[in-house]
């Protein structure tokens, strides 16, 4: 069990022109955990996940995958290491079926690239059951726009898992969702964790993040303010630390 963590960041800094987005960030994601990444708007959450997923390159600092420092880092390399990012509005093609979305770009082509639609549907159905789809109207050949917001997140998570993601980054997965829909997302996240994956859960809603996460990283103005286990903190403590940040921010 003493394997080095899936991903570890050491002293990562990133600035856009003269604006410094991240300063000296060090953090890690362990195996089979849900890491809650908390911070107010502008704290650097999205810059940080874009560095982890390979969209942005850091100005300085190191990215270690299983203890190995990465010289080159981009989206494809990150994906090859099993790191997948699910963006809320960019994830799915809504007029296509669930099956087509799951196999998007990785269609199961048989003879001359013709699709094995029956097999794709079967596998998609099985996958949806594993991830915990219980909705009665659901079938793998239903179109995605007929699903609710939470279920769509589920399809994106299922897709990542199907293609052997070891770590799934969820960017604000519950922001636009109702309470019951958010519950569905939490359920999918738990299923993903039970399946052995790690999940990075980004939200500015501390209560959402608290319930689902095993560990927390709190960002403030581009720095790691706090990295703590769930056992060592409570939601109220986290809220209080956020409020302190806000106050000190206004004072400064």
């Amino acid at each position: 069990m003493n394997e080095p963590p899936i991903i570890k960041l050491e002293n990562i800094s990133k600035s856009f022109g003269s604006v410094s987005a991240l300063t000296d960030i060090s953090m890690q994601v362990k195996d089979n955990e849900v890491l809650g990444l908390i911070g107010d708007n502008g704290a650097g959450k999205s810059t940080l996940i874009k560095i982890i997923s390979g969209v942005h390159a850091p100005n300085s600092g190191e990215i270690l995958v299983r203890g190995k420092a990465q010289k080159k880092w981009n989206v494809n390399i990150a994906r090859a290491h099993g790191i997948e990012t699910v963006y809320q509005d960019r994830a799915l093609a809504e007029q296509q079926t669930i099956t087509r979305n799951i196999f998007m770009g990785r269609e199961r082509g048989g003879f001359l690239g013709f699709l094995d639609i029956k097999k794709e549907n079967e596998e998609a159905n099985k996958l949806m059951r594993t991830i915990g789809f219980t909705s009665q109207v659901f079938a793998a050949d239903s179109q995605v726009y007929t699903l609710s917001g939470g279920e769509r997140q589920g399809v994106a998570i299922a897709r990542a898992l199907y293609f052997k993601a070891k770590m799934i980054i969820l960017d604000e997965p519950t922001t636009a969702l109702s309470l019951t829909e958010s519950e569905k997302v939490f359920h999918f996240v738990r299923q993903a964790k039970d399946g052995g994956a790690s999940v990075v859960f980004i939200s500015h809603n501390i209560y959402h993040t608290y319930d689902i996460s095993d560990r927390f990283v709190v960002l403030d103005r581009g720095r790691v303010l706090l990295e703590t286990d769930k056992t060592k903190t409570t939601a109220d403590k986290l809220v209080k630390s956020m409020q302190d940040i806000a106050r000190s921010g206004h004072a400064a």
Binding site: Q95, Q96, R100, L115, Q143
Partner: protein, 339 residues
Amino acid sequence: MSISEEAPQPVVLPSPRPVSPLTKFIRGNRRPISALVFFVVLIACFTAANPRLFTNPQIYNAVFVSLPISIILVVPLVFIVTAGEIDLSFPSVVGICAWAFAAGTRANWNPFLCVAAALLVGIISGFVNGLLITRVRLSSLVATLGMNFLLRGLIHIGNQGYGISVTQLRDTPFSNFFIGDINGFPVQMIWGTLFAAIGWLLFSRHRFGAQIAVIGDNQDSAKEMGINVERMKTMAYVYMGIAAAVAGVFSTLINSTFYPTTGDGYLLAVLAAVFVGGTPTWGGVGTVVGGVIGAFIVGFIETGIIASGLTGYYTQFFYGLIIILSLISHRFNQGRYRY
């Protein structure tokens, strides 16, 4: 086995509501079915207006002479519209491919070599369209509009207004193979249907069609999942170029002549066929079968109007009316997406 009230009940996953295969088929094909119903109603109206003519197979065979050209052109255009793009240059590509075919024939090339020349010109034209749109990043509306003028201009410069006669091909085995007739039924209808069948397979049962649909639906998502958007779109335009070449060859064979205006008349008719057939304008979904039915609808309008006893002056008015009515019928027959 004793029954205990405290025993935990096993969680039963409810299975999807059973849907009859027929309902499922109708739900999955509502666009082409709606187009087909519209076509049947249209023919019924024409038959009511002129029962003698519309119960005579000859009228159908007359339309079938040139209908395959529309069918061949509408199929790849469905791909392009589904990918969220448009092509307005295909009429001139038809023309320039027809020119290549006719010029080869005049030089006494083997007819199959002439077809190959037309195909090559079509592929290159499609490729240039694709490059302009995906690499130079021009809007497809403007880029293909420009290409339409540019290629037509080339045809006019090269031909100075003169056509090229290919009467030497008339009644040759080559010609009979492609545009002969079986008891009056034009053979080119079989080729058009075959072309459309392959197009349907590519659209609905092949990786190419699946990726085109995803690109038109959510391009960011397609890129995110590793689909080569530029390449797939370019391939769709090359496909259009191939179809334009085939259409150009058929048109030249049917008329025994290449006219510098070859292809011009198909722009609005084929575009209308795509949308009348049920492919929406916003991309992500489309229907090849619907597009073919759309070509039938558009193809029969003119004949029907004349046969109903109206003069040619009414044609355009009814064209417009029928196109708008058919779009309204699709509007009420679509799923709730975007409405």
